[in-house]
């Protein structure tokens, strides 16, 4: 990105803008006349053909846009897909050879095509011509645009825009970035041509772009361009490159790009884009178009947009990125355009921005929308091996037919390379994100409980895997062969059953363990600690009553809440009463235990001041049944705030508190959970005493990692003891200043607990958030004293684990507590060759104690495909899961390496993944093209979000505690959470009609998407902002805030007034529903445009350049492209 950016964007922009218009128009036009475009492509195709062929195999959506390359590549592909004829020729030329593996060479084109085809979205292909492309554009274009942009300076951009119509090729978009430059030139000349290209675009419209971008600039471009008709553009591109360089910071990159891509680009580029488009198009096309307004607009119009944007990219790359987003004043003007983009599409008027058009690069929003539309309507049936589930953002039902629901397990790829060599080459991490106790929607049944009686669950004698649908019964049912280790076991007599003619047990469908992916076994006493059935778990509430806690009103609030909350302890099944017992401790420098035995008239307090050697002062009467001791408990909760009302004690202890809770559970011989409510750095003389070591000077030094490491090893030791006892710790922090979250969260982290942090807690402001979190945390179903083991079939094995747990050996994940929100990410590595036939199996077995004290085993099985072709891998990846893994990997990395190293590692890995794709799966195309696999086209944008997250790139306002807190949070997030956390959801509130019951379609997280006449909600799972544009209609202001004007809105407001009008109801309803979707309550903050608080808000507009130096999406894409090219060279 940086590289690209170097070039002065401005001028290009100016140009591009016009181009845009042109593009749009053209694109628009192009689409309609899809066929027409094809022909032009056809020309291009000529060269491309071979590529095309290659591309098809690749499946991928092409992202790269060597400008020239794009054209060439894309064209061919496009042709191939959309227009068989055209493509064919092109395909012929290149495609055949490249076929599947076709080297990256023209990858773009091929890719695009391939992706279309392979994706099986042949449908898409159908749509291809016009519609398809449209859709693709959104996705594909972005990709393409980027790379292109750099190369092609503004002019190219313009051109690309033209091509964008063809934009179908995402790749093109990417390429566009670079290409833009290249394209621009083409465009300019084309100028008019744009229109034409656009028209062409419909078919290959995108191609032009790509072509323009990458290939054109480069020497090769010319021919391509010519071929494609983009030729015209190409030349400019060439010229562009220099421009590009100038424009985009990437200048350097730009130039390189061109050079690299140049050669290939021509044919490939075209093909690629086109192809990509089709892919995208597949499902989305139609829809995309309609929604089109803005975003969607892009789809239809967007293609053009993209193309146009592509040029824009370049600009962006240069400076445009920043500016485009709005930061740059210059661009400002263009921006306005940006917002209008949406509209623009409609009114194909020219916003001739010169840079890469953000709309042209892959849009998360689009992808999400597409998936929702395509896969949200039908249940996901798990019977088929290696099926990629719908995205986490899609609402779908699951039918368990033998594999675990994606709610329990998601994989980075559902098709695993057969050999470790392939895996190493691809660099795609093989990981599964497992959420063993995930909550299910009411429509889905929770796992059946199977009781195998005294002998316990049936297992393989050798590897101890549990009976599952993949076990193969042989010899008439007398034996079974383990699907994990191939060991042949006898079937115990009581389990014997005949087989039917297919070799299946007759009772297969009567037994969950033979027909379902997820189920539970009742554990026998052999599975219990000390060979004793566990007693019901206990909750211990441990409340800081030091001065700060009292003063903030926390203690009073909490005690009041607990009185009613205790009625809602988790219970199992239909039981009337929770089996969970409760206990209470308050503490400051010393600990106060309470005897709340039901026979007492008054609670009794027992003070333990020997914090150096903590122990539990009482047994009987400390942990009680709520209903039996209700009166005493109520009396206690009434008195606690009074007793300490006059406290002057400011010092607190921490480790002894946990120790005490743990000892209490130990004494009671049960597992359980501690709820700690803590306010300050524990500086009192005691084990685990901490000092303030917050030092911002360490940031960006090699010592930065120490900020994430615990100050003392004492907490690890303590955590170990807790885990051994099944003592899970949930920590609620209410700091007014530095409390060293990194250290305090060690125990919660290792015991499977959660940390909640309420900085500067004030009852008025934070009450609701805290209480809501508390309620949820107390009520949620938890498994205690759990051990998780992930077994795999021969060939791969689990090698690394991420999450909130403790491991004392390399295979068993020990979780003192595990709730439905906690996720464990497991990484696999090859240790042998896999077999395509048999695939790969995962079995996750979780042994735990339920809330009622029942010992159970929950089993999740998942079968994956194995492939010998890398393309298969890339086609079955899931970017969200990948990001989940990569974020966790990186967040753990900061403990040991400098943050910069971690960032670089991520970037490198990402580049390698994409380069491998480009090299092995995409059809050959110009190096100037950025080609992204369809399944990973969001990888760059998401990765960029990870890279600029607070942990990896802290801004000035981010405290050390915040970083540690977030780091800790992410570690046990599931895929849906990481998804929204890294790429926040931005919802316009007034765009859709008030009556519509559905959630408004989101917009991309960029300032330029904000209209100052609108109101937006932004959420990332932790924060919730309501952004109010400065020129929002008074009526809206009135009906939402009950004030007469914008200026009267209180900035920072956290509650919307309850007003009886449709808008207010709708917004509040929306807020509620958003909150309901998240595991933590999101406090609302109302932000006014141009207000101080807006800085805070802007922090979450992740596609923009961040104040802390994080790259904008476009910049990053360019940078990615550069990296890839380096790798390819």
């Amino acid at each position: 990105m940086n590289v690209n950016q170097s070039a002065p964007p401005v001028p290009p922009f100016g140009q591009p803008q016009p181009v845009y218009q042109g593009y749009h128009q053209s694109s628009y036009g192009g689409q309609p006349g899809s066929t027409a475009p094809t022909t032009p492509y056809g020309a291009y195709n000529g060269p491309v053909p071979g590529y095309q062929q290659t591309s098809p195999p690749d499946y991928f959506k092409i992202k790269s846009l060597g400008i020239p390359g794009w054209f060439s590549g894309s064209v061919p592909k496009v042709i191939s897909q959309s227009f068989s004829f055209c493509p064919l020729p092109s395909g012929v030329s290149r495609a055949p050879p490249s076929s599947e593996a076709p080297p990256a060479s023209t990858a773009q084109a091929p890719c695009g095509q391939a992706s279309y085809g392979q994706f099986g979205q042949g449908d898409v292909q159908n749509g291809p011509s016009s519609t398809v492309q449209m859709q693709r554009f959104p996705g594909s274009q972005p990709f393409g645009s980027v790379p292109l942009a750099p190369v092609v300076s503004q002019p190219t951009v313009l051109q690309p825009y033209g091509p964008p119509p063809t934009s179908a090729q995402v790749t093109a978009q990417l390429a566009g970035m670079q290409i833009s430059g290249a394209v621009a030139p083409a465009l300019p000349p084309v100028g008019l041509g744009y229109g034409s290209p656009a028209s062409l675009a419909s078919a290959s419209g995108s191609f032009p772009n790509p072509g323009l971008y990458g290939s054109y600039p480069q020497g090769q471009a010319p021919p391509l361009s010519q071929a494609q008709g983009h030729l015209g553009a190409q030349p400019p591109q060439r010229s562009a490159p220099p421009q590009a360089s100038t424009f985009t910071s990437p200048a350097s990159g730009g130039p390189r790009m061109p050079s690299m891509t140049g050669p290939f680009l021509p044919g490939q580029g075209f093909g690629g884009p086109s192809l990509s488009q089709p892919n995208h198009v597949s499902s989305p096309p139609p829809q995309a178009l309609p929604p089109g307004t803005q975003m969607t607009g892009p789809p239809g119009p967007p293609p053009p947009m993209h193309s146009s944007q592509q040029p824009g990219y370049q600009l962006q790359q240069n400076g445009s990125f920043g500016p485009a987003r709005g930061p740059q004043p210059n661009y400002g003007s263009p921006y306005p355009g940006a917002p209008t983009f949406g509209s623009q599409p409609g009114p194909p008027q020219p916003l001739p921005p010169k840079r890469l058009d953000p709309d042209a690069i892959p849009s998360p929003i689009q992808v999400i929308e597409d998936d929702r539309n395509n896969r949200g309507s039908e249940p996901f049936v798990t019977g088929v091996r290696g099926q990629v589930p719908p995205l986490v953002t899609t609402n779908f039902l699951v039918k368990d037919q033998g594999n675990a629901s994606p709610r329990y397990i998601r994989c980075t790829s559902y098709n695993i390379p057969c050999t470790s060599d392939m895996a190493k080459q691809a660099q795609v991490p093989l990981a599964a994100v497992i959420k063993p106790l995930a909550r299910l929607p009411p429509e889905e049944a929770s796992p059946y409980v199977v009781d195998h009686g005294e002998s316990g669950p049936l297992r393989c004698n050798r590897c101890k895997a549990y009976m599952c649908p993949f076990m193969q019964f042989i010899e008439g049912g007398r034996r079974f062969q383990c699907c994990f280790c191939s060991c042949i076991n006898d079937v115990p007599p009581q389990y014997f059953q005949h087989l039917d003619h297919t070799g299946k047990r007759v009772d297969a469908y009567d037994r969950p363990e033979l027909s379902l992916g997820s189920y539970e076994f009742l554990a026998t006493v052999d599975y219990c600690k000390n060979n004793k059935f566990p007693s019901p778990p206990a909750f211990i509430f441990m409340i800081d009553v030091s001065y700060n806690a009292i003063r903030s009103g926390l203690v009073r609030l909490l005690c009041e809440e607990l009185k009613s909350l205790l009625d809602f302890l988790p219970r199992e099944g239909g039981t009337e009463e929770s089996a969970i017992r409760v206990g209470f401790v308050t503490y400051n420098k010393v600990l106060h235990f309470y005897n709340v035995k039901s026979s007492l008239a008054q609670p009794q307090m027992m003070v333990v001041s020997d914090v150096a050697d903590m122990f539990v002062p009482l047994l009987d009467g400390f942990l009680v049944n709520v209903s039996e001791s209700r009166a005493v408990i109520t009396s206690l909760l009434d008195q606690i705030p009074e007793m300490f009302a006059d406290t002057r004690e400011t010092e607190t202890v921490f480790a002894p508190v946990i120790q005490a809770g743990m000892e209490a559970l130990k004494a009671a011989e049960c597992a359980g959970k501690l709820f700690l409510f803590h306010t300050s750095l524990p500086i009192a003389e005691a084990p685990g005493k901490l000092k303030n070591r917050d030092d911002r000077k360490l940031i960006n030094t090699d010592k930065e990692k120490t900020l994430f490491q615990p100050q003392t090893g004492a907490y690890q030791t303590l955590a170990k003891e807790c885990v051994a006892q099944g003592c899970c710790v949930d920590l609620f922090l209410f700091p007014n200043q530095y409390v060293d979250v990194a250290t305090l969260s060690v125990v919660p982290q290792l015991t499977g607990g959660s940390v909640y942090k309420y900085a500067c807690f004030q009852v008025e402001n934070d009450q609701e958030r805290f209480l809501s979190d508390l309620r949820r945390d107390v009520q949620k179903v938890v498994g205690f004293d759990a051990v998780m083991r992930v077994r795999t079939s021969t060939g791969i094995r689990a090698v690394d684990f991420f999450g909130a747990f403790y491991m004392s050996n390399t295979t068993d994940v020990e979780l003192a507590g595990l709730d439905g929100d906690k996720t464990v990410t497991v990484e696999f590595k090859h240790d042998d060759r896999l077999n395509e036939e048999s695939g790969a199996l995962l079995q996750c077995a979780l042994l735990y104690t339920s809330c009622a004290g029942q010992r159970r085993l929950r089993i999740h099985n998942l079968a994956l495909n194995c492939c010998t072709q890398l393309a298969d891998l890339y086609r079955n990846c899931e970017t969200d899961t990948l990001i989940n893994y990569m974020a966790k990997f990186a967040y753990r990395g900061v403990l040991n390496s400098p943050v910069k190293t971690v960032r670089d590692t991520l970037i490198t890995q990402c580049a390698q993944i994409l380069a491998c794709y480009r090299k092995n799966c995409a059809s050959p195309s110009s190096a100037g093209q950025l080609i992204l696999p369809e399944c990973m086209k969001l990888l760059p944008v998401y990765l960029n979000c990870v890279l600029k997250s607070d942990v990896l790139q802290p801004g000035a306002e981010v405290t050390t505690d915040d970083r540690a807190y977030v780091r800790q949070l992410v570690t046990s997030m599931d895929v849906a959470e990481t998804n929204v956390f890294f790429y926040p959801r931005l919802l316009p509130l007034t765009k859709s009609p008030i009556e519509s019951a559905t959630e408004p379609p989101a917009v991309r997280a960029s300032e330029e998407r904000l209209s100052n006449g609108d109101i937006y909600l932004l959420e990332n799972g932790l924060n919730l902002f309501l952004w109010v544009g400065a020129s929002v209609q008074q009526g809206v202001v009135q009906s939402l805030f009950n004030v007469s004007s914008f200026s009267q809105i209180t900035s920072g407001l956290s509650v919307l007034p309850v007003l009886d009008n449709p808008l207010s109801k709708k917004v509040r309803g929306l807020i509620d529903s958003l909150r309901a979707q998240r595991s933590r309550y999101m406090k609302l903050i109302v932000v006014k445009q141009e207000d101080k608080l807006e800085m805070l808000f802007k922090h979450f507009l992740v596609e923009d350049k961040s104040l802390s130096g994080g790259a904008s999406y476009v910049d990053f894409l360019c940078h990615m492209h550069k990296e890839i090219r380096q790798l390819l060279s």
Binding site: H592, M605, M606, V607, S609, D613, L619, G621
Partner: protein, 762 residues
């Protein structure tokens, strides 16, 4: 001759008795040999039993302060033995002969207007000091909760009851312990708070005070100023509160006391943290009320089984140490525990507090290890089988008994100072005291008992607390005391009266010197056999505590040959056979603090015989006294035994009586006039026993048994085994009951002694 001797004796008896009543002092010799050499030849040392606070209803304290000798090394107190020059308003100290001016307040004195302290009948006088802060008495209950339910209930009731007996302004505190130790905060309303300590961890005083939050104000304890008293209660108010303020609270708290909630698995003893509990009690008072009268009252129902001061492990299969184990050096916890408790005892003594131990259990409770706590601080030690017995209940109640003035029979933080005239030096003291290590001109280099000082601290004492004080005559043989010279001794006891006043009791006595060679008869006549016996016994016990048993016996045999000694040899004070270490400690404890009469009973129990043949009569403590038709009443101080003899021969044998007594009672024979004699006979020993029970502290074990009953062993073990299974037939059946023992009888013992005496004479 005989007559005169008798008269002399009578005189001396009177003299001794008079002195005892007036001064609470009994000397082994009432005429003193005038030189060291002669004194040494006397074998029985010059010593006295002093009861510092002997009740003197006839002695009202004077409300002013004593006049001291101005010589800094002397500081003796003006007494009737001083020579006074009324005209010059001067007095001469009878110890150092310093001449002192009377203070201004005495300007009006004359031969006819004498202050009390100059009057001969006020050889003992008590002053009330006006200065000094009057801090309330403090009672800190340290309660074991590892008890059986009914035991705990009984204890709780006793404690609740005791609240009504305490002076209203007294401060009380409560510590309970089991596996943990809880220090209860008493000031709070509503919720009851307690500080809990791990029962296994030895904490320093400072740690304890830190953890109790007692160290906050670093205010130096300056008791002299009138202001500070207010601060004290403030600092410690959470744990020690005036009874009148919190008796309701505390009653409730005691009522809610649970048994130690920690489960005790089969085959284990409950974990009992007595050592830590005591340590915390001591630390608490040390930090809050040093040098004020305070009682730590430990109620325990079993041996400490964990932490510092543990006496036995919690495995029931390992029994608590016995004498046998101790001899074999097989009591693994004893030394450490003893050290722990000694450390505590010394600290407590330093602070002027005392520790009572109320141990009620069927097995031993570790008194052996803990004894020093009571012994060194003047606390009580009570041993019983259960808290649910009258023995404990009444004994405990008796602690709070009041004297004729309505004051509690207890005093605190006493300092006893002994001043002697030049011919004498103080060799030591034996009793519930610790040395203050004050060297002075009158301190002997030879130590008998706790020596090397002429001042001792007695943290807790009552009107019967008695110390044995041993002297050494230092006058050289060649520098005789002038004829008619008298030696003087002044006992100055400064203490906190139960009314919280500080008082000083001064006793000044004088005895004649006599030349042993020329006036042997005088000296002989003035020998107090009883006092000597007790004093020697104390020495013996003191040695027994610190030396090996047999050696002590040998030493004693060498030293003294008298009737008492036979019984003393067999007494539990020296003989550990048949006694557990705890019992021995218990008996010795009381022996070292009871007054002369009680001590004598302990050494040689009293035996009364009741029959239809005549009034009750004291009989020989001999197996020959155990006759079939008698009811016997034995008082050993610790036990009251009523023994019904068996009767086969007489008209209505006791055996029959015993067998049918229930029927007779049912039939109401004792209520019929014609059987009144039967009723009386039955009743008489009971009444007598009751009388003893009423008066004695601690309450004796009351045993009502008959011939052949298992409890008869209490009697049989005491009597002189003149008839045993060995010589039974020689004595004839009808004369008494044979004792199954290998112990020698008095007869044999005497014969042996005679032989020894003769041979040693050679």
């Amino acid at each position: 001759m005989n007559g005169s001797v008798f008269r002399t004796m009578a005189t001396y008896l009177e003299f001794i008795q008079q002195n005892e009543e007036r001064d609470g002092v009994r000397f082994s010799w009432n005429v003193w040999p005038s030189s060291r050499l002669e004194a040494t030849r006397m074998v029985v040392p010059l010593a006295c039993l002093l009861t510092p606070l002997k009740e003197r209803p006839d002695l009202p304290p004077v409300q002013y302060e004593p006049v001291l000798c101005s010589r800094p090394t002397c500081k003796a107190i003006l007494n009737p033995l001083c020579q006074v020059d009324y005209r010059a308003k001067l007095w001469a100290c009878n110890f150092c002969f310093q001449r002192n001016q009377f203070p201004p307040a005495y300007t009006g004195i004359s031969e006819v207007n004498q202050p009390a302290e100059l009057m001969p009948q006020f050889s003992t006088i008590e002053y009330v000091l006006q200065r000094g802060a009057q801090s309330p008495l403090i009672f800190l209950y340290v309660v074991d909760t590892c008890l059986e339910e009914d035991d705990l209930q009984a204890l709780k009731e006793s404690l609740q009851m005791s609240l009504s007996l305490l002076p209203p302004d007294a401060l009380v505190g409560l510590i309970t312990f089991g596996r943990m130790v809880q220090v209860h905060e008493l000031s709070c309303e509503g919720i009851s708070k307690s500080y809990v300590f791990r029962g296994t961890k030895d904490l320093t005083a400072k740690q304890i005070q830190d953890m109790l939050g007692l160290t906050k104000p670093a205010v130096p304890m300056q008791q002299a100023r009138p202001g500070p008293p207010q601060e004290h209660p403030f600092v410690s108010s959470r744990f020690l509160q005036p009874v009148h303020k919190i008796d309701m609270n505390l009653t409730d708290l005691l009522g809610e006391l649970q048994r130690d909630p920690w489960p005790v698995t089969q085959g284990k003893r409950p974990l009992r943290s007595t050592g830590v509990a005591l340590s915390i009690a001591v630390g608490l008072l040390e930090g809050t009320f040093p040098n004020t009268g305070a009682r730590i009252m430990l109620f325990t129902g079993g041996p400490p089984t964990q932490g510092p001061g543990m006496v036995v492990g919690d495995e029931l299969k390992v029994p608590i140490r016995s004498w046998h184990d101790i001899e074999k050096d097989n009591a693994r916890f004893m030394k450490k525990a003893t050290k722990h408790y000694e450390m505590l005892a010394n600290r407590t003594a330093t602070n002027g507090h005392c520790i009572d131990i109320y141990a009620c259990a069927l097995d031993q409770t570790g008194l052996l290890e803990m004894k020093c706590c009571a012994n060194l601080t003047g606390g009580h030690m009570v041993m019983g089988d259960s808290f649910n017995t009258s023995l404990f209940k009444q004994t405990f109640q008796r602690i709070f008994s009041k004297d004729f003035n309505g004051d509690f029979r207890m005093a605190f933080g006493a300092t006893l100072e002994v001043k002697t005239s030049r011919e004498l030096k103080v060799a030591g003291a034996i009793g519930p005291c610790v040395s203050l290590n004050v060297k002075g001109p009158c301190v002997s280099e030879n130590e008998l008992g706790v020596g090397g000082t002429n001042q001792w601290k007695i943290c807790g004492l009552d009107p019967t607390s008695t110390l044995g004080i041993y002297f050494e005559v230092v006058n050289q043989h060649n520098a005789p005391v002038p004829q008619g010279g008298r030696g003087a001794i002044q006992f100055v006891t400064q203490y906190q009266h139960s009314s919280t006043q500080r008082r000083i009791r001064v006793t000044t006595i004088a005895r004649n010197w006599a030349d042993a060679q020329s006036q042997l008869r005088h000296i002989e006549a003035a020998f107090d056999q009883e006092a000597a016996a007790v004093l020697m016994a104390r020495l013996g016990v003191f040695r027994a505590e610190s030396e090996e048993g047999p050696d002590v016996l040998r030493w004693l045999d060498r030293q003294l040959i008298r009737l008492f000694m036979f019984h003393l040899r067999r007494s539990p004070f020296l003989q550990v056979f048949n006694n557990s270490p705890d019992e021995s400690s218990y008996y010795r404890h009381h022996f070292a603090r009871q007054d002369l009469t009680q001590s004598l009973i302990m050494i040689q129990p009293i035996l009364y015989s009741y029959s239809f043949h005549g009034p009750p009569e004291p009989v020989l403590l001999d197996s020959s006294s155990i006759l079939a038709d008698r009811i016997l009443l034995m008082d050993t101080f610790f036990q009251i035994v009523i023994y019904l003899g068996e009767c086969f021969h007489s008209g209505f044998g006791w055996f029959v009586l015993v067998q049918t007594i229930a029927q007779w009672r049912k039939a109401g024979y004792q209520d019929m006039p014609e059987y009144e004699n039967f009723k009386h006979l039955l009743q008489a020993p009971l009444d007598d026993a009751q009388e003893i029970l009423q008066a004695r502290f601690p309450m004796p074990r009351y045993i009502n048994t008959e011939h052949g009953g298992s409890q008869a062993r209490f009697l049989l073990s005491k009597v002189n085994p003149s008839q045993t299974h060995n010589n039974l037939y020689a004595w004839g059946q009808e004369t008494g009951a044979p004792i199954l023992t290998d112990d020698v009888s008095l007869q044999v013992f005497m014969d042996h002694l005679k032989k020894l005496a003769v041979s040693s004479a050679c």
